[in-house]
């Protein structure tokens, strides 16, 4: 299996641990990641809020590059996923819109043809690799560890982009369970982390994150598992800000799912990876060792 790897902006700039984990584990499952060259920003919701044509054209340009490579796209970030998936779906369905966007793309000698699919890293693990294979690759299952899964919004919403189903959350839960942990239900699990509110009204953003963290705390989780780099920032860094501004301390470590899986597959995190987390991982790493 080969995928056009769309890495996005935030992950290669600030969340190297996520990137390096994915690059290490995917080849072990026979998934080859071919880096997309000369791509631009996916055009996330902040850019979509400015101009419709700019969004579609920028996203479509990225899709054209994958079409030229003849490969489906694999994204790690929920925002990239939403932008590319929605553009791909809209342009495939709507001929008039496709022609309009293609007239913009003509300035850079590109044409959207609608030949490829857009997948999230979780889709690929679930559909192509399969939960059984993931389970078999796990060397040290972390029995007894309680985790709260933060799927993020755009893994499954809006439903109509996912054929009316919410497979994403179920898929993520099953994949997380494959590492031997217990995925605990908690209040506000499917709700937004509040991240997109940053810069508009920071106090509300923190309150939205706080509701989620309250749910996680009440469920008694050992750590939070994320797949979206924005949720990760909001829940990890956000805990420090909640402590500073609201004087509430949670101290719940946050790990990317890819990191959890990497550790479970027998590849411990390196020192710098551990240190890149704002909330110390020591407690949860200790529990993982005990689980062996």
């Amino acid at each position: 299996m080969k995928y056009a790897f769309f890495i996005g902006c935030l992950i290669p700039a600030r969340e190297l641990g996520y990137e390096i984990s994915v690059r290490k584990i995917m080849p072990l499952f026979g998934v080859e990641l071919v880096d997309m060259e000369n791509v631009n920003c996916c055009a996330p919701f902040s850019i979509q809020s400015l101009d419709y044509a700019s969004w579609l054209s920028l996203a479509a340009r990225n899709l054209c590059i994958a079409e030229e490579m003849g490969l489906d796209v694999l994204t790690l970030c929920n925002d990239c996923y939403e932008s590319l998936l929605m553009t791909n779906t809209l342009l495939k369905e709507n001929k008039e819109l496709r022609e309009k966007v293609n007239s913009v793309l003509a300035t850079v000698d590109k044409e959207f043809k609608g030949k490829i699919k857009v997948k999230h890293f979780i889709d690929v693990l679930y559909d192509d690799v399969g939960v059984e294979n993931v389970k078999n690759a796990v060397k040290t299952p972390f029995h007894g560890l309680r985790v709260g899964v933060q799927p993020g919004c755009h893994l499954t919403k809006p439903k109509r982009l996912h054929f009316g189903e919410r497979i994403g959350i179920k898929a993520l839960d099953e994949l997380v369970k494959a590492t031997g942990v217990k995925s605990v239900d908690f209040e506000r699990k499917e709700a937004c982390c509040g991240g997109p509110m940053r810069g508009i009204n920071d106090a509300v953003a923190l309150q939205v994150a706080k509701q989620k963290l309250d749910g996680l705390k009440n469920a008694g989780v050992d750590c939070i598992v994320t797949v979206c780099p924005f949720c990760y920032l909001e829940l990890d860094l956000g805990q420090l800000e909640i402590k500073r501004h609201l004087n509430v301390e949670y101290n719940i470590p946050v790990v990317h799912f890819a990191e959890l899986l990497k550790i479970a597959m027998g590849m411990p995190l390196e020192d710098w990876e551990i240190r890149s987390h704002k909330i110390p991982l020591a407690k949860v790493l200790e529990k993982m060792k005990e689980a062996k």
């Binding site: 190297l16 390096i20 920003c41 850019i47 919004c153 809006p158 509110m197 810069g199 508009i200």
Partner: protein, 172 residues
């Protein structure tokens, strides 16, 4: 800014503004709204603060209060989490309508500073988040490619063609 155009005129302006939103890409859903409030009940922001209520915001659009809607900050409160898209009994896509409203607000020059920064980053570097020099050094140290390939030239050509630059240089 043209005061006469932005101001609200009851009766006549009412329908005008609603249709202006409806005819903006992603804004169609405003015509389907029956004001049931399910979007508000689903909204993670509305449950957090009384300042924002998506049903009421759509109501102000239907009432034709163009100035209040486009020059205010409230449409930015939508997180685009799309919970309301899944729940609207009318298929009204209120979260999508917010994009239409924000696009119209941008045309009036009403864009938050944070988004201007991202937009400028996008135009100048091809991405909204740019790696710091430290991040590039770290990438090299940890065996990741230091050179993150970006097609700035083509992205700029596209953004010039769509008049994106003029849009972000506007101010209220």
């Amino acid at each position: 800014m043209d005061e006469a155009k932005v101001g609200a005129f009851p009766a006549r302006a009412r329908a005008d503004f609603m249709h202006e939103v409806a005819n903006t890409p992603r804004g169609r859903g405003v015509l389907l709204c029956i004001q049931c409030g399910r979007c508000t009940n689903s909204c993670p922001v509305a449950r957090t603060t009384d300042e924002y209520n998506p049903r009421k915001l759509v109501e102000t659009v239907i009432l034709g209060l163009r100035k209040e809607v486009l020059l205010g900050n409230l449409p930015r409160y939508c997180l685009s989490c799309f919970t309301c898209l899944d729940r609207c009994p009318q298929g009204g896509d209120i979260g999508e309508v917010m994009f239409a409203i924000r696009n119209l607000a941008a045309k009036e020059g009403n864009v938050p500073e944070g988004i201007i920064v991202q937009a400028k980053n996008l135009f100048e570097t091809g991405r909204v988040v740019t790696p710091t020099r430290m991040a590039l050094i770290q990438r090299e140290r940890y065996g990741l490619s230091k050179d993150i390939s970006i097609g700035i030239d083509e992205a700029q050509k596209i953004l010039k063609k769509t008049s994106f630059v003029e849009l972000i240089s506007k101010k209220v």
